[in-house]
C-alpha cells in the first residue's frame, strides 16, 4: 500500500485556512464605506478649517451694527479694524451684532476640530498612562480605580461646567474640562484591555522568552490596544465637539468673541423663531461633523474592533 504523502495535505489545509484568512486591518478599513464617507467629510472640513481665510470670509469677530440680523444672502457692510467700511455679502446672514455668520461658521470649524481632536488626544494620553499603570501595577490599581470611579460618579457636564466657569474660559481650559471626565472611561478601557491581553498566550510566551515587563507592555500589550483606542478616540472626539457646543450654549464655554459653532448658536438662540438661520447653519455644520466622526468611528469599530459594538 502506498504511503500517502502527508505534506501534500498540509498544503491543502493552508488553502482552507484562506477561508478564515483575514485581510490586513488597513485593507479592511480602507474598504469600509463608513470610514470612507466619514473620512471624506472630515477631510473636507479640515480643508475648510485650513483655508478659511480664502473662502470669501471676513474677520469673524468684526461687526457692524448697520448690518444686524440680515437674512442669508443679503448684502450689507462691515467695518474693518482699520475703520474702513466695506461691502460684504452675508451668505448665511448676520447675527444681532451684525457679524457674518458664514465667516463665523467657517472659522468655527477650526475651533471645533481642535477641541474634538485635542480632547481625544488628551483623554487618550492620560487614559493610556493611567490604564497601563492600573492594569500592570496591581498595588496602584485599587486606589487609582477608586479615584476614577469617583470622577465617573460626577456627571461629566457638571465637571466641565464647574471647571470652565471657575477658570478663565479659554481653549485650553475648555479642552481640559471636557477631557477630564473622559479620562476615567479611557483608563477603564485600557485597564480592561491590559487585563485581557496579559492573559493571552502570546504575552505568556513573551514572558517565558525573558522579555522584560516594560517591553511586554510597550511591544505586546500597547499595540494591541490601539484599535479599540482609536475607535474610542473618535467617540471622544465627537462627544468633545458636542460638549463644547453645549458649554457655549450654557454660557460657560469659550469666550463668545471666539467663533465656535456653539457660540454662534448660543447667541442665535435668543432669536430662534425670527432668525432660525443663526442656529440652523452652525447646527448643520456641527451635526455633520459629529455625524462624520461618529460614522468614521463606527466604521473603524466594525473593521478594527468588532467586539466593541456593545461598549458603544
Amino acid at each position: 500500500m502506498e504511503t500517502p504523502d502527508a505534506r501534500q495535505y498540509e498544503a491543502l489545509s493552508v488553502e482552507s485556512a484562506a477561508v478564515v484568512r483575514r485581510e490586513s486591518a488597513w485593507q479592511r478599513v480602507k474598504r469600509n464605506w463608513s470610514v470612507r464617507i466619514g473620512g471624506a467629510v472630515l477631510v473636507v472640513l479640515l480643508l475648510v478649517a485650513l483655508i478659511a481665510p480664502f473662502l470669501g470670509t471676513v474677520d469673524p469677530t468684526l461687526f457692524d451694527a448697520a448690518s444686524r440680523d440680515l437674512l442669508p444672502g443679503q448684502a450689507g457692510e462691515i467695518t474693518t479694524l482699520e475703520g474702513e467700511t466695506v461691502k460684504h455679502s452675508f451668505l448665511m446672514g448676520s447675527d444681532s451684532f451684525g457679524r457674518d455668520i458664514y465667516s463665523r461658521v467657517v472659522y468655527g470649524t477650526r475651533v471645533s476640530l481642535i477641541v474634538g481632536v485635542a480632547t481625544a488626544l488628551l483623554a487618550l494620553a492620560f487614559g493610556i498612562v493611567l490604564g497601563l499603570s492600573a492594569g500592570y501595577l496591581r498595588w496602584l490599581d485599587g486606589i487609582l480605580m477608586r479615584v476614577m470611579d469617583g470622577i465617573m460618579a460626577i456627571p461629566a457636564i457638571l465637571i466641565a461646567i464647574s471647571l470652565v466657569a471657575m477658570w478663565k474660559g479659554s481653549l485650553l481650559t475648555v479642552v481640559i474640562a471636557i477631557a477630564i471626565p473622559e479620562i476615567p472611561r479611557v483608563t477603564r478601557l485600557v485597564r480592561s484591555l491590559v487585563l485581557t491581553i496579559r492573559e493571552e498566550p502570546y504575552v505568556e510566551a513573551a514572558l517565558s522568552l525573558g522579555t522584560p515587563t516594560w517591553k511586554i507592555m510597550f511591544s505586546h500589550i500597547l499595540p494591541n490596544t490601539v484599535a479599540p483606542l482609536v475607535v474610542q478616540g473618535t467617540y471622544i472626539c465627537a462627544a468633545g465637539i458636542l460638549t463644547e457646543a453645549i458649554l457655549s450654549f450654557l454660557g460657560v464655554g469659550l469666550p463668545p468673541d471666539i467663533p465656535t459653532w456653539g457660540n454662534v448658536m448660543a447667541e442665535g438662540r435668543a432669536q430662534f423663531n425670527e432668525y432660525p438661520h443663526n442656529i440652523f447653519f452652525p447646527g448643520i455644520f456641527l451635526a455633520a461633523t459629529v455625524l462624520a466622526v461618529n460614522i468614521l468611528g463606527d466604521g473603524l469599530r466594525d473593521t478594527l474592533d468588532p467586539k466593541m459594538a456593545k461598549r458603544v
Binding site: 479694524l81 451684532f97 478663565k168 474660559g169 454660557g251 438662540r269 435668543a270 423663531n273 425670527e274
Partner: protein, 533 residues
C-alpha cells in the same frame, strides 16, 4: 366596582387624555383671572432688600414693604407712609407723622420706633443712607405715630434719601426685624406693603408668590412712580424665576402661559409689537444708562490721558446700536446724569460727544500708552449688556489699544471687579454695566463719581480730591439752582479726569398680554394697580 366609581374612573381617564392632548390647557390653573404671572428680569435669591442692592431684591421689597416717602413720575418726593411732616427753622429737626391704618402683615401696627429702627439699619447699608447718617445726630419716636430726625447740621437731601425710589430703598420693617445686624440677612419677611410674601411657596430659582394684602389701605392719590395709591386688583402674583431664556419667555407670553415679561429682550421687540395679543406698556420716563468703568489703580488706566483717549473713542451710537438696535428704544445722552432729570446736561462732555476715532488715536499716541493690554470683562449671561464689551473691544482696537476681552458669567465678573490686584493676578481694567436712571441721576447717587480712591464705595477706585470736595459741597447745598451749578461742575471735572464713560441711554421694554391693564409710570418694576381681564 360601583357605578359611581366607574364613572369617576372614566371621567379621570377622559380628563387626563384631554389634558394631554392640550385641549383643556388651563384647566389646572386656578382662577386664572386673579393670578398675575410675571417673568422678572432676573433670579430672586436674596430676600433682604437692605442687605443687597440687587434690583430683584428691591422689586421684591416694593411688593411687601412700604416706604415713608415715594418718588413720583416727575421725580418729586411725595409722602407715602408719612401723613404730614415739619422741619424746624434751623433745618435740623425733622418731625414726621405716620398716616393712620398702617399695619404689618403680622397684624401689628406700624409705629415710629419701627421706622427709626428701619432707617438705622438702612443707613448702614445704603450709599445715600450712609451719606445722610453722617448728618444725623439721633432719631427717636416720641409717639406711636411719630418719628423725628435730629441733624448735626443742615442737609439738602433728607426727603430725597427717605423717598429714594431705587436700591436701597428705605423699606420699613418691624423693629424686631430691623434690629438685625445690617451685615446679616433678615430671616423674616414681614412688611406693611400691598402684598404678603407667601414664604412656603417660595422656591428659589423656580417661583416666588405674593398674595394680596387685603388689609392694606392705599393712599387716595393715583399711583405714580413709587408714590400714590397702591391698589391691588389681583389675588395673587407669581414670579416665574425659572423662565430665563429670552426666546422661551416670548414663546410663553405668546401662548399666554405668562402675563408679563419684565425685561423684554430687544431682539424680540418687533415680534411682540407685531403680535396683536401683546402690548408694550410704557412704565418709565427715566431711561437706563450704559457705562464703561475704568480701573484707576493699574496700568494703563491709571493714566488720565489714556482714559481721555478712551472717552474720545467711545462715541455712544455704536454701543447703543449694537446692544439695543431698536431706534425708538435708545438715545444718545452726553450727560453722566440721566438726561431728562434735573441734573442732566452736556456740561464738559465735548471730549466724548464731539470727538471721533482719529482724535482718539492722536490722544492715545500722545498719552504715552505702552501697549499694555486692556482686560475688558464681558458677562455672557446678561443679555441687556452682553454686547457692549465687544463694541468696546472693537473701538479700543481701532483706537490703537491692545485688548484682552475676557468672557465670564456676570457672577464671576461681580466677584472679579472687587479685586484690586493687577491684571496678571486676576485683576481687570474695564467693565461695562447699566444703571437705572435713578441710581445715577445726581452726584451723590452716582457711585462712579465717588473719587475717594481706595475708600470709594464702588469698583474702579477713581481718585480725585477736587471732585470729592465738589461733591461734599453738593451734599450740603440746599438751594436747587446752586445744586444744579455744582452738578455741572462735578460732571465737567469727571469728564476731565475720566472717571468713567457714559455710553448712552435706553429704555428697557416690558411686554404684557393685551388683557393686562392699569400700567402707570413707575420708573421701576412695580406690580400694583394692574387688572387682568
Amino acid at each position: 366596582m360601583n357605578i359611581a366609581r366607574k364613572f369617576a374612573v372614566i371621567a379621570a381617564v377622559t380628563a387626563s387624555a384631554a389634558a394631554i392632548s392640550g385641549l383643556s390647557f388651563n384647566s389646572a390653573a386656578q382662577d386664572d383671572a386673579k393670578v398675575l404671572r410675571i417673568v422678572p428680569h432676573s433670579n430672586l435669591a436674596i430676600l433682604d432688600p437692605i442687605w443687597t442692592t440687587a434690583y430683584m431684591s428691591r422689586n421684591h421689597g416694593y411688593m411687601i414693604y412700604d416706604t415713608p416717602f415715594g418718588t413720583d413720575e416727575k421725580n418729586q418726593i411725595k409722602p407715602q407712609m408719612v401723613d404730614t411732616w415739619s422741619v424746624s427753622p434751623d433745618n435740623r429737626l425733622w418731625t414726621f407723622k405716620l398716616r393712620p391704618g398702617l399695619e404689618f402683615h403680622d397684624g401689628k401696627p406700624v409705629t415710629g420706633e419701627d421706622v427709626v429702627a428701619s432707617i438705622a439699619r438702612w443707613g448702614k447699608r445704603d450709599a445715600m443712607g450712609s451719606a445722610l447718617m453722617t448728618f444725623v445726630e439721633r432719631m427717636d419716636a416720641p409717639a406711636p405715630d411719630t418719628f423725628r430726625i435730629f441733624l448735626r447740621e443742615q442737609c439738602g437731601f433728607v426727603l430725597e434719601a427717605l423717598g429714594k425710589p431705587s436700591s436701597n430703598a428705605l423699606f420699613i420693617m418691624p423693629k424686631r426685624i430691623a434690629d438685625t445686624d445690617a451685615f446679616k440677612q433678615i430671616e423674616e419677611y414681614i412688611g406693611s406693603g400691598p402684598y404678603i410674601f407667601k414664604r412656603d411657596e417660595f422656591k428659589p430659582g423656580d417661583k416666588a408668590v405674593y398674595l394680596k394684602n387685603t388689609k392694606y389701605v392705599p393712599r387716595k392719590e393715583a399711583p405714580s412712580g413709587t408714590a400714590g395709591g397702591k391698589r391691588v386688583y389681583v389675588d395673587r402674583v407669581e414670579w416665574n424665576l425659572a423662565l430665563r431664556d429670552g426666546q422661551a419667555q416670548v414663546n410663553a407670553l405668546q401662548k399666554g402661559e405668562v402675563d408679563i415679561i419684565e425685561a423684554l429682550p430687544f431682539d424680540h421687540y418687533e415680534t411682540v409689537k407685531k403680535d396683536p395679543s401683546l402690548q408694550i406698556p410704557k412704565y418709565s420716563t427715566v431711561n437706563l444708562q450704559y457705562m464703561a468703568r475704568f480701573n484707576h489703580l493699574h496700568k494703563p488706566f491709571d493714566n488720565v490721558k489714556v482714559r481721555r483717549a478712551v472717552l474720545a473713542a467711545f462715541s455712544q451710537e455704536p454701543f447703543l446700536r449694537a446692544q439695543v438696535g431698536v431706534k425708538e428704544l435708545y438715545n444718545v445722552c452726553p450727560s453722566m446724569f440721566t438726561c431728562g432729570t434735573p441734573y442732566g446736561s452736556p456740561a464738559g462732555s465735548d471730549i466724548q460727544s464731539k470727538s471721533n476715532m482719529k482724535k482718539a488715536q492722536e490722544l492715545l499716541k500722545a498719552s504715552g500708552y505702552d501697549g499694555t493690554p486692556v482686560v475688558v470683562m464681558k458677562p455672557t449671561d446678561l443679555a441687556a449688556i452682553q454686547k457692549l464689551p465687544d463694541v468696546a473691544a472693537q473701538l479700543l482696537r481701532q483706537a490703537g489699544f491692545k485688548v484682552d476681552l475676557q468672557a465670564m458669567d456676570w457672577q464671576t465678573l461681580v466677584g472679579r471687579r472687587a479685586k484690586k490686584d493687577p491684571d496678571d493676578k486676576g485683576g481687570w481694567d474695564m467693565f461695562l454695566t447699566a444703571w437705572q436712571g435713578h441710581d445715577i441721576w445726581n452726584p451723590i447717587a452716582n457711585a462712579a463719581m465717588d473719587t475717594r480712591g481706595e475708600q470709594s464705595g464702588w469698583f474702579g477706585w477713581a481718585k480725585d480730591d477736587k471732585l470729592v470736595e465738589l461733591r461734599n459741597q453738593f451734599m450740603r447745598e440746599t438751594d436747587d439752582a446752586k445744586k444744579k451749578r455744582l452738578a455741572d461742575a462735578i460732571q465737567t471735572r469727571a469728564f476731565e479726569i475720566g472717571t468713567h464713560v457714559p455710553l448712552g441711554e435706553y429704555s428697557q421694554p416690558m411686554a404684557a398680554r393685551k388683557n393686562i391693564s392699569g400700567f402707570f409710570i413707575t420708573n421701576g418694576n412695580l406690580y400694583w394697580n394692574l387688572k387682568k381681564n
